[in-house]
Symmetry: C2
Subunit: 339 residues, 2 copies
């Protein structure tokens, strides 16, 4: 493999000149620059990443921490990852993907060994045990998901309370008086998935404010189970005319549940889900939905991270917590209830 010494020799210059000619960090005569470039392409020279990292303390690699938990919908996770990965590449960074089950240990290993310039964490829990490690690390960190304590980190998430209010107010204004909200499984909450109760509590409050009845329940995240649960729910609440779904598996199962009962949306039920457009397309879900914007959130996290990595000013800026405003994607699954 060619080194910069080979390039320098072939171009008839010193190693430092070859290096500067390539980095552009000081002015170089056109003639020398051309000779160096010619040598580079003749030798097929690519800088050794380890040597460069050692010299500059920069790896141009971002660590991406994602856990594929059995009770979370894997394809949804993937959307966040691709948002991160695509934006990172666009900004000239590669992605070290970490899926270890022991998050804190893996995080310490990756940051302490200086394999990455910064880190993006997904699956954020309310009290996430990776956060103390991340705060102690020299590298900056960005989270997709809102923990209890955001100090020292940049945080990006959907505004789940606003999503809950939006779902309820939209149906309340159409005249619905009794709604059912199906959330993620209870153990997602127990594991620290705060977005579940953030949406639910806000929905509950909005319902009370508007004098609407809201039945808030947890649903399974696996297919056969959630189908039966949905069916039972419809039986249990015959007066309900609106369904709110903060649970991907429930959204995916609902069409066949309704179908099996000879019902449909919006005729018999107005329905609003919370998932990504991509998810809706994959499962051809006919429901209006609150866009969870995984790719946009992943992209925002990387951009902020890179700003901190690259600019000395950026590194000192106060940390941000940005909650993106939910938007309703209209697929025509809501209308006033039947009289």
């Amino acid at each position: 493999m060619a080194t910069i010494a080979d390039v320098a020799r072939l171009a008839g210059v010193s190693r430092s000149t070859a290096s500067y000619a390539l980095s552009g960090k000081r002015s170089i005569s056109d003639e020398v620059r051309d000779r160096v470039r010619a040598a580079v392409s003749e030798l097929g020279y690519t800088p050794n990443a380890g040597a460069r990292a050692l010299a500059t303390s920069q790896t141009r690699v971002i660590g991406l921490f994602a856990q594929f938990l059995p009770d979370e919908f894997a394809p949804a996770m993937l959307q966040y990852m691709l948002g991160v990965s695509d934006t990172a590449r666009e900004l000239g960074y590669d992605i070290l993907m970490v899926t270890d089950s022991d998050g804190p240990a893996a995080l310490r290993r990756i940051t302490d060994s200086r394999m990455v310039d910064g880190v993006v964490l997904l699956n954020i829990a309310e009290e996430d045990d990776r956060l103390p490690v991340l705060r102690a690390a020299k590298q900056p960190g960005a989270l997709v998901g809102l923990p209890a304590d955001c100090t020292g980190l940049d945080v990006f998430d959907l505004d789940f309370p606003e999503a809950g209010r939006l779902m309820v107010s939209h149906l309340a204004e159409l005249g619905h008086r009794e709604l059912v909200l199906v959330s993620q499984p209870r153990h997602v909450v127990e594991r620290g998935g705060a977005y579940v109760w953030r949406l639910r509590n806000a929905a509950q409050e909005e319902a009370e404010r508007r004098g609407v009845t809201l039945h808030a329940v947890h649903g399974s995240s696996s297919q056969p189970a959630i189908g039966q649960e949905l069916s039972d729910l419809l039986d249990a609440h015959p007066g309900a005319t609106g369904l709110l779904l903060n649970n991907e598996a429930a959204a995916a199962a609902l069409p066949s549940v309704l179908h099996a009962r000879g019902l449909n949306s919006p005729e018999h039920y107005s329905v609003i889900g919370r998932y990504s457009d991509e998810f809706g397309r994959t499962f051809s879900l006919p429901f209006s939905f609150i866009e969870s914007a995984p790719d946009r959130l992943g992209s925002m996290a990387v951009r902020q991270l890179v700003r901190r990595i690259e600019s000395p000013a950026g590194a000192e800026e106060p940390h941000v917590t940005r909650l993106i405003t939910p938007e309703l994607g209209d697929r025509g699954s809501t209308r006033p209830p039947r009289p």
Copy 2:
């Protein structure tokens, strides 16, 4: 950040002794080893990955190349990735995830810069333009997917021809005389997805050998379209009693298509799909299926790669092409046709 010089100083030994005490590459007195270990934990020392890579020419990182093409089913891709990632971690390697659309350029960048010790490629095309780059690289490469030319590479794939024969012979032996095989979209083939026609041609031959009629068609990979196509297919071939699905979207759509027509499997149609158990569970598909074993294939690829990376003997072993034998997962969706 502590360096090995700090550790050596605190332990009162030379840097080389500290290094050897940690690597165990030469014998060290118990007392010195303990002092070094104590210094390491007191300082929280973690070796700098870049420096180590520079000194040893080993990064303990494996490159994972995956493309998320719009017409391939993303969750299925994810299963391969997790198979690779989990096994790599088990063997002490991290994963550099590369999703660039320009595969050859990204591959050259990653290998020439020595960011990785080896590479696993997914989405292999018949004439994959990444393969010449991989063969020219210093690092070993493993493929999940079978290209036209396997020289210089370790290759792992499902035995698709055998899968096709198995599907057909299973239904033929039950007495079915007219089958429909729904494959992936035509442009997957045009892009080089040889597994599509490998399965189809073998199925076709097996059908001829047994005097069974096989209608082989391409289906869409997106949900609303494939549903209509399946429905049209059933109309077009009223005599068909068996459905073979080498198309995830078709498998996911079939239950509701049958349901809408008041039909079910196995009563009206015997059905065999080709997908992973995980996929079947996610979509709660009630069909017997040929396991595509993405996690197993990913794992095999990494193990072989690591063997080549780590043992000088392994590096010289002849390259292998391993096609795993399809197995039928029985979910009771096949039976003899109705008289």
